[in-house]
């Protein structure tokens, strides 16, 4: 260790000279102390400090480089580039007779008897399963609420947008579904699309059914997780994917310990009108330690003895499902959606569900209508059983009609017996989706003229991941009578015979 004695290096500094230069006394003393003290440090220390100081000065004064800057273009060239650049038009041009451009106009309420494009028809197209759209009790409750609260809530839930009606509705939903807590959203689409990204983040793994609806797909896209699709309702395919994931996990156990895994399924699929095999899913859940999110938009109010959905239908313990999400726009005939489950799961959405925190809350009259609809559902579960019976009748009828003329059985019925919305597809496709869609549309028009209102099932062709084949959607509601259903089935058969021959 080099230790050079500098203790006498600065003996000859005359402090008075410093003072005559105009420095303050205290500063002089400080400088003197510094100079006296520093030579007592070992040499390598001083050298190191010196180098560091020089390095810092260099860094401070060196130019910073931005990798993206193209500094080789002159100003003139930049101006030219700006002049020349031609962006695409904001929207691509569209032909005037694009099929989804012209909507059917409904004048008057979309209830059992609906006036479409000027003609009065029987409504087989709106998801008004339990007929609450016309219900007098529901309307009266909404009117009372209107007189008390006005229409809008003028604020998100966090800032004085929480009304007692909202709290009551959440409470009632939780009690009805026999879960601990429920949370309400103001729009059905936003419900599952906000719930998924609240739990599943980048790096997590989600197993989804191929026939999942669009809002689930958007929720998954927003969550940025790894998505693995399994074939529709195919439990073996799902098990295969889960096993693969397990092997992956064993390779990297530390990462596996923090990667969350979810299975997302729908209770009753809107695209294929069948039910998910819930008991098998629950078994897989415990075997592979994955959480289940269930989307029950179509099955809430429809399946199960009291309308509690697929869990009641199969007799599965509702606590086994981590999150149940549903919208209130189908059976309950209001607007909005809800999620229910254990408080451990649901409470998280109150701070991190985007559609909950950053959006205005549900208008109170719609919430009051939902409460009243729930009341009626609870008081009178027979309502649901009646409607079940209707549906089975419709299904049999339609099947019967299409099997009689087996040579012209060009349409097949897709869906389970107790699904409220059936799909009618072409047995043999013509090869091009456009022609198929046009044929189905002409069947719908034919029926509209004979006073049966149907609709094509609509999809965004380019955005769907697994585009379902074109189909006509037939909805059975509780307000239709048996004659109505007969009439509808025979009308569709006529149309099929006339157009598809």
């Amino acid at each position: 260790m080099l230790f050079i004695d500098y203790s006498s290096a600065f003996n000859t500094i005359i402090s008075t000279k410093l003072r005559t230069l105009g420095l303050n006394t205290s500063i002089c003393n400080w400088i003197l102390d510094f100079l006296m003290g520093s030579p007592q440090a070992p040499a390598y220390h001083l050298v190191l400090e010196g180098i560091l100081i020089l390095w810092i000065i260099r860094l401070l004064f060196s130019k910073t480089y931005k990798l993206q800057e193209r500094s080789d273009l002159t100003e003139k060239e930049k101006e030219d580039l700006i002049e020349e650049w031609q962006p695409e038009p904001l929207v691509p041009p569209m032909s005037k007779d694009h099929p989804s451009l012209n909507y059917d106009i409904v004048t008057g309420p979309p209830s059992h008897k609906i006036i479409v494009n000027g003609k009065e028809c029987i409504n087989f197209a709106s998801f008004n399963f339990l007929g609450f759209l016309d219900n007098e009790r529901v309307k009266q409750k909404a009117l009372t609420s209107l007189r008390r609260y006005g229409v809008g809530t003028c604020g998100p839930r966090g800032f004085y947008g929480t009304f007692d009606v909202h709290l009551e509705l959440e409470d009632r939903l939780a009690k009805f579904m026999k879960t601990e807590e429920a949370i309400i959203y103001s729009y059905g689409f936003a419900t599952i699309a906000s719930a998924i990204p609240a739990y599943s983040k980048r790096g997590d793994i989600v197993f989804v059914d191929e026939a999942a609806c669009f809002s689930i797909q958007k929720g998954l896209q927003a969550s940025r997780s790894f998505i693995k699709y399994f074939k529709h309702n195919d439990m073996e395919d799902l098990e295969r994917l889960l096993k693969e994931q397990e092997i992956e996990d064993q390779r990297n156990p530390r990462k596996a310990r923090v990667t969350r895994r979810f299975i997302i399924v729908e209770g009753l699929y809107i695209n294929t009108a069948d039910v998910c095999p819930l008991p098998d899913l629950v078994k897989l859940k415990y075997k592979y330690k994955v959480r289940i999110f269930l989307e029950e938009s179509m099955s809430f109010g429809v399946l199960g003895e009291h309308g509690r959905g697929v869990t009641e239908h199969f007799g599965v313990n509702i606590d086994d499902i981590d999150l149940i999400s549903a919208n209130m726009e189908n059976a309950v005939a209001s607007i909005g959606g809800f999620c229910c489950g254990r408080s451990f799961v649901i409470d998280h959405q109150r701070l991190s569900g985007q559609g909950y925190c950053f959006s205005a809350s549900l208008p109170p009259m719609l919430a009051a209508a939902a409460i009243e609809a729930l009341n009626i559902m609870e008081e009178d579960p027979v309502v649901i059983l009646i409607w079940f019976r209707f549906f089975i009748f419709m299904y049999d009828l339609v099947n019967k009609y299409f099997q009689i003329d087996s040579y012209s059985a060009v349409k097949s019925v897709i869906g389970e017996v107790y699904a409220p919305a059936l799909h009618l597809q072409l047995e043999r496709s013509s090869g091009s989706r456009d022609t198929d869609v046009r044929m189905l549309r002409s069947i719908v028009d034919y029926c509209l003229e004979r006073q049966i209102a149907l609709t094509l099932a609509r999809y965004l062709d380019k955005e769907e991941r697994f585009l379902p084949p074109p189909s006509i959607r037939v909805v059975v509601t509780i307000e239709q009578t048996e004659e109505d259903i007969e009439k509808a089935a025979s009308c569709i058969r006529e149309a099929a015979l006339a157009i598809l021959k």
């Binding site: 929207v91 479409v116 008390r148 800032f159 709290l167 739990y199 726009e329 607007i335 950053f358 959006s359």
Partner: protein
């Protein structure tokens, strides 16, 4: 909050409210027209009236240094305290109140990481009573707040059943005072409810397109002065479902720093590249535009397909108004498209309530996509997008909402129709215009009074959103509770909705507030 262990407001903090924020040197006593602009000096080359209006100052004063230091210190102390309490909970000395995972699922991968919940557990829970306050009357200028008590420091609440009546409402977005329940005014809405029911049970493209929807769309288009418009059932969803229909991969989105979550979500879902420019800073925007056009896409240098600039009319946390004339000039020079989100400004600014285009005297056809919501000024729910006919036609067939989401509820549609007709004067009265004027009056009065009192207020003088900066987390909480005691309901926001040192209280003015109410506040 940093200084107390129990959620009881500390009396000292209230008095400090005036002391810390009083700026006697720069007290603006001589009116607001003569103030100099504090930030960017870009001027527009518009007609004289718009330039004068444009020069209405927006002030974003910086706090004194010691306030900033104290704020950081406050957060630091709370964080340390949080760690300490976590330790106590882990050891078992403190009872853990949060909900727990099921017994059967204990060996599943945990649903929440510990750190995600740190903020919630330790900071938010202590002050949770300032948000989500339930009310039980309409959200008008005064309302009734339900009383809540918490036996265990805000972990659970129970309603006492009593209400605090006649609290002045400075928190709801009720700009033109249309949140009312007067029977006469709401007659048409009641009729529609009776006739149509509540829901629609179908999407727009299937069986949900009612004739009243079309009527409303035409009215909105004529209100804004554009060719056509389309309405949607939810304001948040309007952004998140339509931006992906307009831009996609290979496009560039230039978005303001302080854009709302719905805009950011829509931009992310679209798959386009997003570049952020500094809030209302035209140099930053111009620099990014030049770079975008000259350099093209990041690695391949192919030219961008489209460039979309996304801004809001009034920013809800800052109260600042977008520099629209500048942006329109830039947009024309660089051939970009402009998406204007007028959620807070439609109906609230402009001489006849038509939003920021009217405020600056611009032609609405200069803006490519005008978007807005009906929740704030019209007292209903839902959103719209308006613009040229091709744009709206494209959205009718490609918007996610038209195909998959339910249509707007009929009574809500009727409320918007009624409110809009009132503002436009189509119902034969001048009530609408009177409300717009009243709002402008209230805004000016309130802002000038607050500035006289010496608070630091952000934002443009025309905006009805008035944030008062409070900086320190403890002050924020005490302010809110003290105001509630005085029967005034305010909204306070802190981290993470605002930058960490800029916690604030935000007042939303309404045409329905009278001068007396404002004086009381």
């Amino acid at each position: 909050m940093a200084r107390t262990t129990a959620p009881v407001p500390n009396g000292k903090l209230n008095i400090q409210l005036n002391g810390n924020n009083f700026k006697n040197a720069n007290c603006k006593k001589n009116g607001y027209h003569n103030k100099a602009q504090k930030n960017s000096t870009a001027h527009s080359a518009g007609p004289p009236s718009s330039r004068q209006r444009f020069q209405r100052p927006e002030s974003f004063e910086n706090p004194p240094m010691y306030v900033a230091v104290m704020t950081y210190l406050g957060f630091g102390i709370v964080t340390l305290f949080g760690y300490f309490r976590d330790f106590l909970r882990a050891v078992g000395l403190e009872k853990c109140h949060i909900a727990r995972e099921r017994e059967e699922q204990k060996d599943f991968v945990p649903l929440y990481q510990d750190f995600e919940n740190f903020y919630t557990r330790n900071l938010y829970m202590r002050v949770r009573d300032n948000w989500n306050r339930p009310i039980c009357s309409l959200p008008g200028p005064v309302f009734d707040v339900m009383e809540r008590v918490s036996p265990d420091y805000n972990w659970t609440f129970s309603l006492t059943g009593k209400t605090i009546d006649d609290v002045i409402n400075m928190g709801s977005y009720n700009y033109l005072g249309f949140a009312e329940n007067d029977g006469d005014f709401l007659k048409t809405v009641a009729d529609r409810t009776q006739q149509y029911g509540l829901g629609v049970c179908s999407t727009r493209q299937e069986m949900g397109n009612l004739a009243i929807h079309e009527e409303l769309e035409q009215l909105v288009a004529s209100f804004l002065g554009v060719e056509s418009s389309m309405i949607f059932g939810m304001g948040f969803a309007t952004n998140s479902m339509n931006i992906p229909a307009l831009v996609g991969k290979g496009c560039l989105i230039l978005s303001d720093e302080l854009n709302h979550t719905s805009l950011i979500l829509g931009a992310r879902l679209s798959g386009a590249t997003i570049w952020v420019f500094k809030h209302n800073n035209m140099q930053s925007l111009e620099r990014l535009l030049r770079e975008a056009v000259c350099s093209g896409q990041p690695r391949t240098h192919r030219p961008w397909r489209k460039v979309l600039i996304m801004v809001e009319g009034i920013y809800s946390m800052e109260g600042s108004v977008v520099r629209l004339p500048d942006i329109v000039a830039l947009k024309k020079k660089y051939k970009a498209y402009l998406y204007l989100d007028e959620a807070h400004s439609i109906g609230a600014v402009g001489p006849t309530g038509r939003g920021v285009t009217e405020l600056f005297g611009l032609d609405p056809s200069d803006i490519d996509v005008m978007m807005g919501t009906f929740t704030k000024s019209f007292g209903a729910a839902g959103g719209y997008i308006a613009g040229k006919k091709e744009l709206v036609d494209h959205l009718r067939s490609h918007s996610h909402s038209a195909v998959y989401a339910s249509a707007m509820s009929p009574p809500v549609t009727e409320q918007i129709l009624r409110a809009m007709k009132c503002i436009m004067g189509l119902d034969g009265t001048t009530v609408g215009q009177a409300r717009v004027h009243q709002l402008a009056e209230n805004t000016r009065y309130f802002r000038s009074r607050l500035q006289e009192m010496g608070f630091i207020i952000y934002g443009n003088d025309d905006s009805p959103v008035v944030p008062i900066l409070l900086y320190m987390p403890g002050k924020v909480v005490a302010f809110s509770r003290a105001m509630l005691k005085r029967k005034i309901g305010v909204v306070v926001v802190g981290f993470p909705a605002t930058p960490i040192t800029e916690a604030r209280a935000r007042f939303c003015l309404s045409a329905a507030h009278t001068k007396a109410m404002l004086d009381q506040v």
